[in-house]
Symmetry: C2
Subunit: 509 residues, 2 copies
């Protein structure tokens, strides 16, 4: 083992910072699930105190000193026992520390304040369908984010990369543009072919009466079968579904039950279960350090999408689940065949709202946002022109035109909260999920036969071994390369989506 006391002290600091962070996770989870309405103002006070304490402690000179000394110690004994782990933890802590200390405290405060106010302005503007009321806020936020990008800097010189790097370490806008250009063309082609196929599923079967209690039972059955450990986690209800990792032994998912939409809760639980399995698969012995943390938002999303879409919408999965659905909802599903069901849950339909869109068109919603946020950040697209640019792109990509800005460029919270560079991680997750699933299928020859019997542990074990247990040991790109033997690309996702289009709509490339 290494004898660096600076490193030991650094790990201790990181562990305590994680405990402070995970306390905020409990506060956040509670706020979304059980907190009484009257507690909101007090909760905001608790949050801002803890966030400030966390930031002060993480960016303290003591932290910088420990880090520098530990780096010196590592350089002096690069092949000591434990040096490989130490190298990862120092590399990632250095990354985070430099990022955090590059931002002047004044800018951090201004960003926190402006985005907090901006989110309220956005919520009201969306409600009133008045983009003009939000415009000046978005302009202010953009200007602050431009300053942030400048403070942080990027090797490429592209300000966008400085922001993207927060969510997806090492990835660049240039790489995304390459993957997405290809993908975008394919998606537009598939959507066009599907439109011309003239086929449509019986969508009414999804909006019949589905009692919430049975929905919950089925969702829990699926989550447990996937491998989610309910002794170390929970499933509750909240307005928006999410998964929160509190700490080892404590991972909490939420969903919401809509009795006239069977897809909403069920697929959201499969999705959150994917996130939860990643959290439960992180190595607890490294809790609080980079080796015990998820590697990037894109990889996290790849886990949720893999279980939601690659598994959860597959014929094999429904061989196992369909009889359980039929038994749970005898009235709603009385006249529905398994084939009709499969078509309905795999239907493709251009729509206005990202969060309600299907597996194929979802990515077009993302690519649209990715293109627009680059243009906003570079200043090429003035904020005032955003609604027009949005509607034009919607027409071009999806052939639909938002009747209002509330259903258009005001639909998402992200930009109002200062999250630029976040959207592409969703589609990145889809890319990775398809590539991982292809690799898993090769590695586990009878994967689908097992799934059809409700056996998911071979897949989970493969994901644990190839993704979860590594924490931040490898960069996202390296992790994908090692797991799949290939560089990350949109190929597997395109194959998967064409396959789907052929199965349900009879269209071919």
């Amino acid at each position: 083992m290494t004898t660096s006391t600076a490193y030991t002290d650094l790990l201790h600091e990181l562990k305590e910072l994680s405990l402070l962070g995970s306390t905020m996770s409990v506060l956040g989870w509670d706020e979304q699930t059980y907190m009484p309405a009257g507690g909101a103002a007090h909760r905001a006070d608790q949050f801002s105190l803890l966030a400030r304490m966390w930031h002060e402690r993480f960016t303290s000179p003591r932290m910088g000193d420990l880090l520098a000394q530990a780096e010196t110690d590592l350089a002096a004994a690069p092949s000591a026992d434990g040096a490989a782990d130490m190298a990862v933890n120092l590399r990632e802590t250095r990354r985070d520390y430099d990022r955090a200390t590059k931002l002047p405290a004044k800018l951090v405060e201004e960003l926190a304040h402006t985005t907090s106010m901006g989110q309220q302005a956005w919520a009201q503007a969306r409600k009133d369908n008045r983009f003009g009321d939000f415009q000046s806020w978005l302009e202010k936020i953009l200007s602050l984010k431009q300053q942030e990008a400048q403070c942080i800097g990027a090797a490429s010189g592209e300000p966008y990369d400085a922001l993207l790097d927060e969510y997806e370490p090492g990835l660049t806008a240039a790489e995304l543009r390459t993957s997405f250009a290809d993908l975008r063309e394919t998606l537009v082609q598939i959507v066009g072919a599907i439109r011309e196929s003239g086929r449509t599923p019986r969508l009414d079967i999804l909006s019949r009466h589905y009692p919430a209690a049975q929905q919950e039972t089925l969702a829990r059955t699926a989550a447990a079968a996937f491998g989610f450990n309910f002794d170390d986690g929970r499933l509750d209800t909240s307005v928006h579904p999410f998964c929160s990792f509190v700490g080892p032994g404590d991972t909490r998912m939420t969903t919401r039950y809509n009795e006239s939409d069977i897809g909403d809760a069920f697929f959201s639980v499969l999705h959150e279960t994917g996130h939860g399995l990643y959290d439960q698969g992180l190595p607890a012995e490294h809790y609080g350090t980079p080796l015990g943390s998820y590697v990037s938002l894109g990889i996290h999303e790849s886990q949720s999408r893999l279980w939601e879409n690659l598994v959860g919408r597959s014929p094999a999965f429904w061989q196992w689940m369909w009889p359980q659905f039929k038994a749970a909802f005898p009235d709603a599903l009385a006249d529905v065949t398994e084939e009709e069901w499969m078509f309905a849950i795999n239907s493709v339909q251009p729509s206005l709202i990202r969060t309600e869109s299907d597996e194929i068109t979802y990515n077009l919603h993302i690519i649209l946002r990715f293109e627009l946020e680059q243009a906003l950040l570079s200043g090429e697209l003035p904020v005032a022109d955003l609604p027009g640019a949005w509607n034009e792109a919607m027409d071009k990509f999806l052939g639909v035109q938002p009747p209002t800005d509330a259903n258009g460029c005001l639909q998402d919270i992200h930009w109002s909260g200062g999250s630029f560079g976040y959207f592409p991680t969703y589609t990145l997750g889809n890319l990775v999920s398809a590539q991982l699933f292809e690799a898993a299928r090769t590695a586990i020859p009878d994967l689908e036969a097992g799934i059809a019997r409700g056996e998911f542990s071979p897949l989970l074990k493969w994901l644990q071994k190839n993704i979860h247990t590594h924490g931040k040991r490898y960069s996202p790109a390296e992790l994908v390369q090692r797991a799949t033997g290939k560089e990350l690309s949109a190929d597997a996702l395109q194959r998967h989506l064409w396959q789907k289009a052929e199965t349900y709509y009879g269209v071919r490339q």
Copy 2:
């Protein structure tokens, strides 16, 4: 307003310490309600970090400097605007600060560690009914508490007072001995008279089948009618009922539903509602400072006991509630009259377990503990002799002998956690509740007629005005004196209990 910047800074520090403390309240509430079992170890880590941060910050030299400077500022302008409030906040902060800084860090750590291990040893010893396995832990804990008492000191010279003062500022063991001696004699007399009366209620009616859902509805109805604001609070389930004040707008009660014991959940909710109403009645504008905090455990308990017993077991209350019970439980209560019901919920029966005892014998359980813990702390009673002394006192006070130590001196968690001087606050709460209720009856002439119609707001307003809004402005003794016009004594409780004994058992003083 005062111009002391030290005072302004001190209030800011206190507010932030309260936010840190209230974050621990959320963690504690969550642990008892929704935390998955696997999260226990991580939760303990979160707790110990936050507790240490709180303690370091509160006992810091900066805190001492601000306090001293603010005291100097107050002395220089004792009649400035706001000086009265300032005087209260400084008096109470000085009290807490001195208490906290008198304890060496090593003793604090040793106490935390030993009581944490001691509680586990106690739980196991109780389970195994082996007092011997707990004896050495209790000896260690007692020795540490004796050191604590010595560090803190007491004007009286009695070590017990140094510990009691933490829960009940200003009260002494000598005062308690006087009140309790009187009370004890009365209680033994009443219990004897009741035994000889030969009357017994139909107790079987309380253990029939009472569905949990209806129990919850009725408990919520009563809590809301008493005035508990559910927009600013919650009611959940946990193993042991409790009420936790998170902060302004966020007060959380819990209970547990036993379908074959109608009293358990219902009266515990009335009890916790009393605590909750006090918390909701604290002045939010003073949150985080002594003026916004409850004054003592005894006064807190007086609020829970007042609503649980003085209101909740009264004929007036049941004039309003009985028809609702009859409607909710048509089967269980089909053959039960209101008179039989009233007798059953007011029955008196010596028993082994404090938490299951009735309104009268409960106080004998407390007085027994009060006497024994004084003897333990002074060294007069060796720990090894505790079981014998316990059983002897049970026989003398209640005429029952515990068949096992698990049902005897091992039944309560308090001592294993180092809580000496805590028990008497329960009976103190009973004393105060009766004295307050007598005063409220004088102040509100048609109080009982209103209660019989389900109107509780005159009583709540009286309590808010006389108790809740004052925070720590007055000492507990002064508060009771101001609210009732009398010094605190056991007289009102004795009148109340004799009255009860006469009503249901036909016995007289």
